[in-house]
């Protein structure tokens, strides 16, 4: 039966290929749109609850949150490291204080100066975590290591920006490589914040005049939410001048608030994508049903012929179900493959938003879409053969 179905399909190969192509295009668009919008939304929310307060320079709180948590966009500026030092001494309210500085670039990957606390939830694939009391060590993200062929002990030279050819003279030794996390951490180089200061020749100032050292943000985890609110109130809109006369103005945010604003936008986008997915699916249903029905209509003569020579409607039904089932299965497998291929191509774009698309991530709704497409490709066959079975075989 399957052999004959395949032969019958080979006879109509142009028709079959056109049907498969039309199903693949529409289905892959629906699956891709759903998956990407979901992963972008999930990726943004996954990190939002990690921190209580982020203190940084005055400006856009979204930019501060996105830069500190997802490495997207540019830092708003700098604040004195003394802010972090003061909070480190506040053992009553504060659990952890993590300095965050983003300065350099390594072959297009951003370099972040921080402490090992920032990476405490990340697992190391090989090597070890950087030593906070040392300098010139780097833990690199999975994609950075993969794309640059890095291994433990390699020395990397960073530059001021992605476009700059002028690298720092001092190299940083790779001491660890992170496991793949399908997040923006895969694309970043992490080093001690002191390393960045050394690279920018702040080491002398750091030793003698700590107020000269700056960071882009200070991430704080408090002992309870009330302390977080207190710290936000203390540092939000605070202006001060350091010993060298440099003026600073800070803002303090609760990351969930800032992310909630972003999420409101992405939720709208996601909603629009879902509506579009629905429209595409509806078009899928119409297009695939029409194509399948036309296909079956053209096969009416063949069905009548088979009935006249004595092939039962049961066998004819089964034959066409197998044919259209094969077309459906081939189409959904190809559609899934095409959607993943497109995701791979889109990764560069969405990673700039701090999200790395996981091509292996399959949502249950995607399975539903693919299953629906398969059903749509076989149900018209059942309807048509049912109609044909009610007709006189001589009518064909």
């Amino acid at each position: 039966m399957i052999k004959f179905a395949l032969k019958n399909m080979a006879v109509k190969k142009v028709q079959c290929i056109l049907i498969v192509v039309s199903i693949v295009i529409s289905t892959s668009i629906a699956v891709l749109a759903y998956n990407v919008s979901s992963q972008v939304s999930d990726g943004i929310t996954s990190n939002a609850g990690y921190y209580s307060v982020i203190i940084g320079p005055a400006g856009s709180k979204t930019q501060l949150a996105m830069n500190t948590m997802y490495f997207s966009d540019e830092p708003l500026g700098t604040i004195p490291y003394s802010v972090a030092m003061n909070l480190m001494q506040d053992g009553t309210r504060v659990n952890t204080v993590i300095p965050f500085a983003m300065a350099d670039n390594y072959n297009g990957s951003k370099v972040v100066g921080t402490t090992s606390l920032y990476l405490k939830d990340k697992s190391i694939q090989c090597g070890e975590m950087m030593n906070d009391s040392s300098t010139m060590q780097a833990v690199v993200g999975y994609n950075v290591a993969k794309n640059n062929g890095l291994s433990i002990g390699d020395i990397i030279y960073t530059s001021h920006s992605a476009t700059s050819l002028d690298t720092h003279k001092k190299g940083i030794t790779v001491c660890g490589i992170l496991n793949q996390s399908y997040s923006s951490f895969d694309n970043v180089v992490f080093t001690q914040v002191r390393t960045l200061w050394e690279m920018h020749e702040h080491e002398d100032e750091e030793e003698g005049n700590s107020h000269e050292a700056t960071v882009c943000a200070v991430i704080v985890n408090t002992k309870n939410p009330a302390y977080a609110m207190q710290i936000v109130n203390e540092y939000n809109g605070k202006s001060f001048t350091d010993a060298h006369g440099d003026a600073y103005s800070t803002q303090a945010i609760e990351p969930m608030d800032a992310i909630r604003e972003v999420l409101n936008d992405t939720d709208d986008t996601k909603y629009i994508v879902f509506v579009l997915c629905g429209i595409i699916l509806l078009m899928n249903i119409i297009v695939i049903s029409i194509i399948t029905l036309l296909n079956m209509y053209h096969s009416s003569k063949e069905i009548s012929l088979m009935r006249l020579i004595g092939i039962s409607m049961k066998k004819i039904n089964l034959l066409y179900l197998i044919q259209n089932g094969i077309i459906g299965i081939v189409s959904i497998v190809l559609a899934f493959g095409v959607s993943r291929l497109c995701m791979g191509m889109m990764n560069d774009y969405v990673s700039s938003m701090g999200v790395v698309l996981n091509m292996g991530k399959v949502y249950s709704s995607e399975i539903f879409i693919l299953f629906a497409v398969f059903l749509i490709s076989v149900i018209p066959t059942l309807i048509w053969t049912l109609v044909m079975s009610k007709r006189d075989a001589m009518e064909g």
């Binding site: 012929l305 006249l308 020579i309 004595g310 092939i311 039962s312 409607m313 034959l319």
Partner: protein, 222 residues
Amino acid sequence: MIEIKGVKKQFQNETVIEYKDMVFEDGKSYMLLGASGCGKSTLLNIIAGILSPTKGNVVIDGENMQEKSQPQRDKLRIKQIGYIFQDFKLINEMSVIDNINILRLEGINTKDAPELLNKLGILEKKKSKIKHLSGGQKQRVAIARALVKKPQIILADEPTGNLNFTIGEQVIKELVDVSRGKTLIAVTHDDRLAKYFDCVVDMNEMTSGMQDLVREGGLSND
């Protein structure tokens, strides 16, 4: 044995054909001769179970076809009846052998197809698509498909209708030859072919008694 008992067929356009009782004996070849529209093809379709009579019964080997369901009649047709259609009923885009192997869908063994095609002189065409064959070759494929399942009853509707007399005569000779020992009922309007059949039934005189219509040895050609 095929018995036609009081069969009447009324079509939607209200054309009514009434058949006199007839008996087709096992192992004999019959030629149904008559003018267009006299009901020759309709009778074949009723015997094959493709059409149901409005009234009356067709009994094949003691089994009343009208007591059977359509799937049961289809099963009987695929197992016991080889039907050669006037317009061949072949799938043009498929090869000769695939047109025969289509019967495998119903579990029919078609391993004798090459031998049969050889006997009919078209073995070398077995992989050719039907659309590339001549009318005579298509007719032979239709005959091969009808006979490959070794049916007890062979029905042929105008098997020479699309062929010139010389090729048509050759096809009839081959058909009668390969159908030897089986019940063959062939419809034709060309009485020159009657000599190849055991019996000739003049369908124009259906109101007459069966015995009057059948002349052993066939009609003369003149």
